[in-house]
């Protein structure tokens, strides 16, 4: 227990300022402020892998590390699409995931905001369309915003979420 506590103390709080990436702290602070002003509560995300190579998943997971500390600013991942404000979809949509993606989307409450993550989600990426792939996410469900990159860096994902909060939730 002593080792655990002393490691915690030594590590300190890493969230601000992030040592290498200079953009991240700015985005995180802005996101927290906007969430408070616009939404007035936490933003709930649901992620669906519709056929990705798992690269995008690694960077989405990184959002929860202490540097980006996404949950700390009021964005949390939820287990059910029924609880989600925003759906993150990765991958080209494989034909084997087409139905599952549609059902997930249908289960979301309005306004059903969708962000397609990564080059594959945005345009089909290197896999394109084929007998097994429907290509970009927008071919299957309506998409409000895309974040390109292979995989997109956490800061790019943060900026994408920030833009969505500003443009899609500001009326509500």
């Amino acid at each position: 227990m002593f080792d655990t506590l002393s490691t915690m103390l030594r590590t300190g709080i890493l969230t601000e300022p992030a040592p290498v990436s200079t953009e991240a702290p700015v985005v995180i602070e802005t996101l927290q402020k906007d969430l408070r002003n616009i939404l007035g509560r936490a933003l709930c995300l649901r992620h669906v892998d519709a056929g990705s190579c798992n690269g995008c998943e690694l960077e989405i997971q990184a959002l929860n590390n202490p540097y980006y500390n996404l949950e700390g600013v009021g964005v949390k991942f939820v287990a059910s699409p029924r609880h989600a404000d925003l759906l993150l979809v990765t991958g080209p949509v494989s034909v084997n995931m087409e139905e599952a993606l549609r059902r997930t989307y249908d289960a979301m409450p309005d306004p059903k905001i969708v962000m397609a993550v990564g080059d594959c989600g945005a345009c089909g990426g290197i896999f394109g369309t084929s007998y097994a792939s429907r290509g970009r996410v927008a071919n299957i469900v309506p998409v409000n915003h895309t974040v390109s990159g292979c995989p997109p860096e956490p800061t790019a994902l943060l900026r994408g979420i920030l833009q969505i909060v500003r443009s899609k939730f500001s009326d509500s």
Partner: protein, 517 residues
């Protein structure tokens, strides 16, 4: 190991590869007999694939690759009658072959003698009369999805009920379907259904140029991008007769070890978290993030999707990056050592890790466990150690194994391999000779088959590449070790309680995308 039968010399040819590799043409009787003898003598089954050569010589072909102590053995078999091609199943000797056989049928329409004919990669997304890997099938044609029932094996008895999980999971993870049969909390049976992320990679390769295929290989499983792109380049370079410059070879190994470190760090954090120790996730995800940021300075990106390319690497290691890397290894080593002792001495954590998801050595060996999961059950195999290719042939990596085969063992193997990887990285940096980082790879001759085999962080990944004319790819088969280890998870979870499944699953951390292709 002694093979009690010899293959006739005229049926044997050497294959271009980063390891010693030979290919032998065999008839059905020898195909079957070889499997029996290889199984009895401890040969390791690597992968199975097929090709449509009807346009070339009127035949289909099936290949099986085995790892022998001295080399890689590829058996080539003609499954006969093109209207109804069939070959002997390997599943009774090598159980992991079963799903590969089902996948080959789905894609190529060449059947094994095994009776399980449920679709494995085909879930109704294309008609059962269409075999996409056949050369006369247009891979870009799309079909409406027609949902098909998939009969899971039913367990009957007093109080037995089923829990269906997936394909969409409650987390930031890949999709797959798990069907548990349970009594109370106890798991009586788990049946996996995979294939959800199948995106037609094998067919897509055939639309690409040889010199571009590494990009697709890297995206077979994003967490193993360095391993797969290296395996692809190794196959292509061997066919073209290119030798990668020594500096580039060292940098490739450095990238591969960084990939191993990043994944092990991520897994150790997630394993702590799944056992209720959020501190572990915070600490290890911090260390992983530090490493990824160093990757930007050293390799130009956090994830090494396009770093390893034909003839070498994309970017030279800056002089100052080398110093920074060595400093970081010191810090990382110190921090991991500290966290290891915290994990080891945390009673609550060890209580969850020990005895959970146990895979005994005998069963692991019999079922063909491979890679990290194998090593945690004392199945000793690591290509870097037992079949070292350049530069591992002079690094003399040390094998890390455990004997208990439980979650605790898979945790310990990861800790051990982080230490070993850091040692290798230091040796690679000390020894990184100056010189070019890339050489020209000429267009390879058509109709040559080459093999690339690399020990990724999960286990061996393999690329079997067949060249076409004028820089085209005729056929490319990519294999991830998850194919071998997914069926083992079904055994490891038996008798455990359902709430321990996420922990056991994470301790395997297998690739869905790498498996589904």
């Amino acid at each position: 190991m002694h093979m009690s039968f010899d293959f006739p010399a005229q049926a044997t040819r050497q294959l271009p590869s980063n390891l010693a590799c030979r290919c032998v043409k065999v008839d059905a009787a020898s195909w079957r007999r070889a499997a029996e003898e290889l199984s009895a003598s401890g040969g390791r089954f690597l992968t199975l694939w097929g090709a449509d050569d009807r346009g070339r010589d009127g035949r289909f072909r099936i290949y099986a690759a085995y790892l022998l102590p001295q080399d890689v053995l590829v058996l080539e078999h003609d499954p006969g009658d093109v209207a109804n091609p069939t070959y002997p199943s390997l599943a009774s000797q090598f159980p992991s072959a079963l799903r590969m056989e089902r996948a080959i049928y789905d894609l190529l329409g060449v059947a094994s003698t095994e009776p399980d004919n449920r679709g494995w990669l085909r879930h109704g997304g294309w008609p059962e009369t269409v075999f996409p890997l056949r050369r006369d099938v247009d891979g870009t044609q799309q079909y409406p999805v027609v949902s098909e029932a998939y009969p899971f094996l039913q367990v009957e008895g007093d109080g037995v009920h089923e829990i269906a999980v997936g394909p969409v999971h409650a987390g930031i993870i890949e999709p797959g379907n798990f069907r548990f049969s349970v009594v109370g909390e106890k798991v009586l049976r788990l049946e996996e259904r995979l294939g959800y992320t199948h995106k037609g990679i094998a067919k897509r390769f055939e639309e690409m140029r040889q010199h571009d295929g590494y990009r697709l290989a890297a995206r077979l499983s994003g967490d193993s991008a360095a391993a797969f792109s290296w395996a692809y380049c190794a196959a292509l370079e061997a066919i073209a007769g290119t030798v990668c410059p020594p500096r580039a070879t060292n940098l490739r190994a450095l990238a591969l070890e960084h990939e191993r470190l990043a994944n092990h760090l991520g897994d150790l954090g997630a394993l702590g978290n799944d056992a209720g120790f959020a501190f572990g996730l915070t600490q290890f995800s911090r260390l992983k993030e530090d490493l990824l940021r160093t990757n930007v300075a050293a390799f130009g990106a956090r994830y090494l999707m396009d770093y390893i390319l034909p003839g070498g690497v994309a970017l030279d290691l800056p002089e100052h990056a080398s110093r920074a890397l060595l400093d970081q290894y010191l810090t990382l080593e110190r921090d991991v050592k500290n966290l290891r002792s915290i994990y080891d001495e945390h009673g609550g954590l060890q209580d969850r890790f020990r005895e959970a998801g146990r895979l005994e050595k005998d069963l692991a060996a019999k079922l063909g466990a491979i890679g990290l999961v194998g090593r945690a059950s004392d199945v000793c195999c690591d290509l870097r150690v037992d079949h070292p290719w350049a530069p591992y042939d002079r690094l003399k990596a040390t094998l890390v194994t455990q004997t208990s085969g439980d979650v605790a063992a898979r945790v310990q193997v990861r800790f051990g391999e982080i230490g070993e990887s850091l040692q290798l990285c230091r040796m690679l940096l000390e020894d990184v000779s100056s010189g070019p980082i890339r050489t020209e790879v000429p267009l390879a001759e058509p109709d040559r088959l080459g093999v690339g085999l690399i020990e990724g962080w999960r286990g061996p990944v393999m690329i079997a590449l067949e060249t076409g004319p004028d820089g085209a790819i005729r056929r490319c088969h990519a294999h991830d070790s998850s194919w071998q280890n997914w069926p083992l998870l079904e055994y490891a979870v038996l008798g455990n309680i359902v709430p321990d499944f996420p922990l056991i699953n994470k301790s395997f951390n297998l690739s869905y995308s790498g498996h589904d292709g």
